[in-house]
């Protein structure tokens, strides 16, 4: 089975898909305020009492502008996926506010939330686990159309075929099952499913990390093309800093449930203020021996502490080479040190 290149079919096909598109620049599509997501740890079999909490996300603030891609990077366990899910209300946040287009999502319930869900979708990491193996591709992509009452019967079939074409798959694949496709093709199916309801905002949760090197670029290019065409806004969650630099307009760095730095792509990568960002960037190997031989690595000692019992003060102080007395006592505020460049550190800069 050959993968077809994502072609650019004549755009009139998609006018209908995106007829509701409104571009209102200069306004935040998403505002996240003091978001906390704690998972309780319980003890006891019948009478469970809470003995602690995993503070997966512990008070983060950021915004996403319309049409941009915000990259969210961090190591595993830092809470980046939890952030994505808490925004989409797949988890009920412990505290804080999530404003999508001005509407507070944490207070919405039932039907109102279901209506909002149409405007935001998610692409998952593992294309092997996120597609139901017993459903045909047509049913997988068609299901959201039915749930949201967008199309039925013949119209639905046409829309599904249209979507398959958009993501670069053969439109006649509708009766096949997920196991008949390769990883990259499955990820395209996942993308088609997310696009089915004409969302404005898509949370991409590590969409390429399960794919082979040569296939990753295919999916990155597809995501970029779709963004241009449908004026999508992405929250792009990944641990690969090179990929995040490539695809994002702005980048947020997370460490142990907190955002430690947030800046425009170039600012963050050229002039990182937070020591953790600096260490993270210096740790990424560059495929060029000429560059590699001259680079100085900042090697962090130890592992990420447990989010159940995070360090006092600045959470990074246990691994930070700049740490002073104050770092273990006072949690640094998330301050705008330069225009549009926030960092939470007592001693920011090089």
């Amino acid at each position: 089975m050959a993968v077809t290149t994502p072609t650019k079919p004549a755009d009139p096909d998609y006018v209908r898909l995106r007829s509701t598109a409104t571009v209102d620049s200069g306004k935040n599509l998403l505002d996240v305020k003091a978001l906390k997501m704690h998972f309780p740890l319980t003890q006891g079999i019948i009478f469970q009492r809470q003995v602690g909490a995993v503070r997966a996300v512990d008070g983060i603030d950021f915004f996403v502008e319309k049409g941009e891609t915000l990259g969210l990077v961090g190591e595993s366990g830092c809470g980046k996926s939890t952030t994505g899910r808490a925004i989409l209300q797949l988890y009920k946040p412990t505290a804080g506010a999530v404003l999508f287009d001005g509407v507070e999502l944490t207070k919405l319930g039932g039907e109102a939330m279901r209506k909002m869900r149409r405007r935001m979708q998610m692409i998952f990491q593992d294309p092997y686990a996120s597609l139901n193996p017993r459903m045909t591709v047509g049913n997988i992509i068609g299901e959201p159309l039915e749930v949201h009452d967008l199309a039925r019967g013949k119209e639905k079939t046409e829309r599904v075929q249209e979507l398959l074409r958009v993501v670069g798959l053969n439109p006649y694949f509708t009766n096949r099952y997920p196991h008949e496709f390769s990883g990259g093709q499955r990820q395209r199916i996942g993308i088609a499913r997310a696009l089915a309801v004409e969302p404005e905002f898509i949370v991409c949760d590590e969409p390429i990390s399960a794919l082979d090197v040569s296939i990753q670029a295919q999916v990155i290019n597809l995501l970029e093309e779709l963004q241009d065409r449908f004026k999508l806004t992405y929250l792009f969650i990944a641990h690969d800093l090179s990929v995040v630099r490539h695809i994002s307009d702005r980048v947020a760095v997370m460490y142990l449930g907190k955002i430690v730095e947030l800046a425009d792509r170039v600012d963050l990568y050229e002039r990182p203020l937070h020591p953790y960002s600096q260490a993270l960037l210096s740790a990424v190997p560059i495929p060029d021996p000429a560059v590699e031989s001259k680079r100085k690595r900042i090697i962090l000692t130890g592992d990420v502490p447990s989010p159940v019992n995070p360090p006092s003060g600045c959470r990074f102080h246990t691994r930070c080479w700049k740490a002073q007395q104050i770092c273990s006592e006072v949690d640094p505020e998330f301050i705008e040190h330069e225009p549009r460049h926030w960092a939470a550190c007592h001693f920011p800069g090089a």
Binding site: V3, T5, D212, Q216, H239, S242, S282, P287, V291
Partner: protein, 372 residues
């Protein structure tokens, strides 16, 4: 070739499955001198791990079988040895570090038990001696309070720590060759940096030969002296590390280099993916195996398979398996940076390196901690 630690000649490893014979490794040959570091790069399914397992005679049989070739390690053919002789080499002269430290350690045995086992078996140490050596090894790979932690179980260690235990285990018998199969793929970047730094230091200290198997060109760039690129069971390009990155010749290598964004990417350039999928190794293409995905293919590529040959005008040990790079071929004189749209030139890169932020000075702040 005298003086080589390892000589692999025309290795063929196949898997006999219900659907047919999978030609996982199909005629791989290479040499390795003592103390040398070699990188084997390729996508999943290209046969790089199977090559490593073949060297250790660890191919599950059935369905796998080494059907042809020779593996001369230290003057003796591993493939002609009986099981006892192989056991004498495994873990003793050749050690392996596996990708997933979560599954490659035995969860029901303590760390100390797993390391002392090899010491008692291969080096005939008694219990007390072996335990003493274990503490030394764990210290060496940077496990804090090794004496206290050696009787812990694997689940009490984090991923990075488990990989350090794996490395300690590999080093335990002072092997001449270490095979590291994707040693950092399951780890986070900052932990990956720790482990790579550790491996680099150890390779230098013990003059151990290393084969580093990975899909990440960034990892091999800083770690190895030579690189072999594998595709669909064959080596398609081999060169010195510097030469391979400065002057790659095979279109597949170009694809690998240009399909991943670089951290130091200048501007937002479009990635050039390799279209299509790797071939089915049950019925590989008759000609060049990369031909169906190659932008530069010509008729001959589909008809006949090219041999691994020296590239004209390139460094002497730079070889590629490509019709286009053979004498008079159409790819010999192409400058890959221009060809694939990377307009960065070496001078630019040098300038960028010079502009990297300075390290924190020793005076005002403590120097960055190191892993060792």
């Amino acid at each position: 070739m005298a003086g080589q630690l390892l000589e692999v000649h025309d290795l063929h490893t196949q898997f006999f499955t219900r659907d047919g014979v999978v030609h996982a490794v199909d005629g791989v040959s290479f040499e390795l001198a003592a103390g040398e570091t070699l990188g084997i790069v390729g996508e999943s399914g290209c046969g790089k791990s199977v090559t490593a397992l073949s060297l250790m005679r660890l191919i599950p049989q059935p369905p796998g079988k080494i059907v042809q070739g020779s593996i001369i390690f230290d003057g003796a053919d591993v493939l002609k040895m009986d099981d006892d002789e192989v056991r004498g080499i495994r873990g003793n002269n050749i050690a392996m570090i596996f990708q997933d430290p979560m599954t490659s350690l035995n969860p029901v045995l303590t760390i100390s038990r797993q390391i002392t086992e090899a010491l008692e078996l291969h080096l005939k140490m008694d219990k007390a001696e072996a335990r003493k050596r274990t503490v030394e090894l764990l210290d060496l790979v940077g496990i804090p309070s090794a004496k206290k932690r050696m009787d812990d179980y694997p689940h009490q260690f984090s991923g990075g720590m488990r990989q350090r235990v794996m490395i300690a285990m590999a080093l335990s018998c002072n092997p001449k060759l270490i095979l590291a199969d994707e040693p950092t793929t399951a780890l986070d970047v900052t932990i990956q940096a720790q482990i790579l730094e550790l491996l680099k230091g150890l390779a230098k200290e013990f003059r151990t030969a290393f084969i580093l198997i990975t899909h990440d060109l960034g990892v091999v760039a800083g770690m190895t002296q030579r690189i072999h690129v594998m595709y669909a069971g064959k080596i398609v390009e081999k060169a010195d590390t510097g030469e391979l990155f400065a002057n790659p010749k095979m279109p597949y290598t170009w694809g690998l280099l240009r399909s991943i964004p670089r951290l130091d990417e200048r501007r937002k350039s479009k990635l050039l993916p390799i279209e299509g999928l790797p071939p089915d190794l049950i019925a590989p293409p008759p000609g060049c195996r990369f031909e169906p995905r190659c932008q530069y293919r010509r008729d001959i590529c589909r008809e006949k398979e090219p041999a691994l040959e020296h590239i004209p005008n390139a460094k002497p040990d730079h070889e590629a398996r490509c019709w286009g790079t053979q004498q008079g071929g159409w790819l010999v004189d192409i400058d890959w940076r221009k060809e694939v749209g990377d307009t960065r030139i070496i001078e630019e890169i040098k300038q960028e390196v010079a502009q990297l932020p300075p390290e924190p000075k020793a005076g005002d702040v403590p120097p960055p901690p190191t892993a060792l």
